[in-house]
């Protein structure tokens, strides 16, 4: 039961239509379950958090927060070196995204944009098996560079205590506080605040269905801003026969390793090459059997090799799909990349497997999934900055422009006050 190899035509959508459904997770039943939890945290604060943590995590907390800067950590130097290198690259890439406030003269007046950071942020980090310290770097660094002053980490408690690596990362990143409460109750603590936890106005980071439902519900109430919801991981690869089929197979399996609902789509014009990649996948299943069932389900059920008549059609499909990760491994990568409009992050050339961006190259790995990159961006400095626009109008310009304001406000039936607020300034001096 190898990976499906499907001959495709742009105008005959049946073979590939299912990959374009972009279905979002249905959170309605999770939302129903979490509403009482949110209400309990809102009304009873820390006490409710402790009760839920005992009930759901089997852990009795004496305090729901930890100050990472008051804890001794002992991380080995090799681990430190790796994370510091990643931190340095991620910082360099995100520093380059910083915005300078500006102003210019337009029609006689000074107009401009002042960039200011959001006031506060909680970064959610899942616990247990899904503990990804690299995601803490990705969530916190752009916010720090944007100038967000008040950042806390929300993470489930662990039987053996908080992982040292998380505490150390919070120390070096300047995270103010760790809240050791997971699930919907952790998100509620961030959004409402409690006696010991300051309220955050923005919450980012991946989590299970209850975390996603809580984020989405509280955002709908206008209480918090959130990042776009994280669905299953995906990669799309545009490759021709100049690529190494074994490497391509490895890259597809890197996504499959995340979970059985992950997806890897190879787009090519070359059926022989498609078969070689399929064979490499089968070899890899024998050579690297860890998480075999999960990887096979992902590859056989949720992945495919689509063979299109032309490279242009491959690019067309990739733009329709708007994959979370896109790899380009062809004879002319720049020409292909020039045509890419919709993708979360793009990995160009043979030496750019997605894993490089997941950990260390410097780009952010918190990316829109489920075709989200057609309209949304990855996490970046802009996620945490706002444009405050401003204007200073001169008396002369106000006098020149008043006839236009008068006419337009009359047309909209707002001349009595809108019009007058300008008119009085043309008639009298301050």
């Amino acid at each position: 039961m190898p990976i499906p190899i499907l001959r495709c035509e742009k105008n005959s959508r049946t073979p590939f239509e299912r990959f374009l459904s972009g279905a979002k997770e249905d959170l309605s039943s999770a939302t129903k379950n979490i509403l009482p939890i949110l209400e309990a945290v809102r009304t009873r604060g820390d006490k409710a958090l402790m009760e839920f943590t005992e009930k759901f995590d089997g852990i009795k907390l004496s305090s729901v927060t930890t100050n990472p800067h008051s804890v001794q950590t002992n991380i080995d130097s090799k681990t430190k070196e790796a994370f510091l290198r990643a931190k340095s690259n991620i910082e360099a890439f995100h520093e380059a995204q910083k915005r300078e406030s500006w102003s210019k003269t337009i029609d006689g007046n000074r107009l401009g944009v002042k960039y200011t950071p959001i006031p506060s942020l909680s970064v959610y980090a899942p616990g247990g098996k899904a503990l990804y310290p690299s995601s803490v770097l990705m969530g916190v660094i752009p916010a720090k560079i944007a100038g967000v002053g008040n950042i806390q980490l929300i993470t489930p408690p662990q039987k053996n205590g908080l992982p040292e690596i998380l505490i150390w990362l919070c120390q070096i990143l300047g995270v103010n506080r760790i809240v050791t409460v997971g699930g919907a109750q952790g998100i509620a603590a961030a959004a409402y605040g409690t006696e010991t936890i300051p309220k955050s106005e923005f919450v980012v980071g991946p989590g299970n269905a209850y975390v996603a439902a809580a984020k989405s519900y509280l955002a709908g109430q206008g209480l918090i801003g959130i990042d776009s919801p994280a669905g299953p991981s995906e990669v799309c690869i545009i490759a021709d026969s100049s690529a190494n089929p074994k490497w391509i197979a490895c890259d597809m399996l890197s996504q499959a390793e995340h979970g059985e609902d992950s997806s890897a789509i190879l787009l090519t014009t070359d059926e022989d090459f498609a078969k070689q990649v399929s064979e490499e996948l089968e070899k890899a299943f024998i050579e690297r059997p860890k998480r075999l069932e999960m990887k096979q389900t992902s590859i056989y059920k949720n992945s495919a090799i689509l063979v299109f008549p032309s490279l242009e059609d491959c690019i067309w499909f990739s733009n329709e799909l708007a994959p979370e990760h896109l790899e380009i491994q062809t004879r002319d990568n720049e020409s292909v990349f020039a045509e890419i409009e919709h993708a979360g992050s793009v990995f160009i050339g043979p030496y750019s497997p997605v894993a490089m961006g997941d950990y260390i190259s410097g780009t952010n790995h918190i990316l829109p999934t489920a075709r989200g990159s057609r309209i949304y961006s990855s996490l970046g400095v802009d996620t945490f900055l706002k444009r405050v626009t401003f204007q200073e109008v001169t008396k002369e310009s106000l006098q020149n422009l008043y006839p236009f304001v008068k006419l337009m406000s009359e047309l909209e039936g707002l001349d009595e006050e809108h019009g007058t607020s300008v008119k009085v300034r043309t008639e009298e001096s301050l």
Copy 2:
């Protein structure tokens, strides 16, 4: 019953707390009502649109779309001149917001950001009394400058036909299509598409509760992106006794003119000045009685003059409030503006009433309300652009960084495939 003048202290929140509730409109009952409408449009397309239009608007449509470029319009030259001047200023301000794609070398690799526009947009424009042609400029121009290729206007049909001003604006702005269907059914048409209406992946623009509920519901389903919901209009003014109390009163009434739930908050340290403004408001009610009841309800019920002990406290409150519009009219406007962190658009100095930005200065008047500017921005070019990040890793850098990727992926339990995808490239040549 004059406007409330409240003596306030930062640490005693009772007098001003109600202005900080930032309550969002409850859309749950509207959402329940619109679900059958959305489903009907999804499954029966144009036929459903025509039925709803006959039912809700009392208008029989022969077609649900109009090509603005095939219609003759006859707009007088004065009106043209006003809108063209506004268009030119709005274009100049938004052109300055354009992003250049960039790349730089980080740790030996080429990393960068490519800015690309969202694929399609519908701009909703309410009809009838709330017909604001200026909002069409504000919705369409930033998207055009971002490079959005496919823009349609969604607007309710009118008994006397489409207003010529809307058709002419669509002509000069390059809007592809006018969909003459209003309410939730208009939003559904944009999100799902029909036989004659192409689907849009992004929908912006203000509307009634049904429009807002439809936008919010369809965004929650992942079908469309939307702007932040538009609540009642607000202005906050920081002023001292150097300001003209009559002008301040006019500016407050400009917001009150939008509706009885609009709000105008004056922040000052000077109680005498507060009283002068209150008197000017009373005089204005006599001199300009149009929409009197609405304006008085807004001013007496939803507005106030807050007298704080210091200018610093006024600024503190303004940042807490994060008003849609902020005017600064003091002896030292630049110092005050330097401390402003959260506001939609700021109007600096005596000659910058909000009406100038509403119509003609060039800034966008589609702004976050209900404290939304603490985390969100006004509509701008960035609303319609995405950051596609990219990287091209060199063989040498991959070899240097592999030990770090190995360690980090082991720590996260993802070494088998993530680690291997990098490792194979250090061992073999392409």
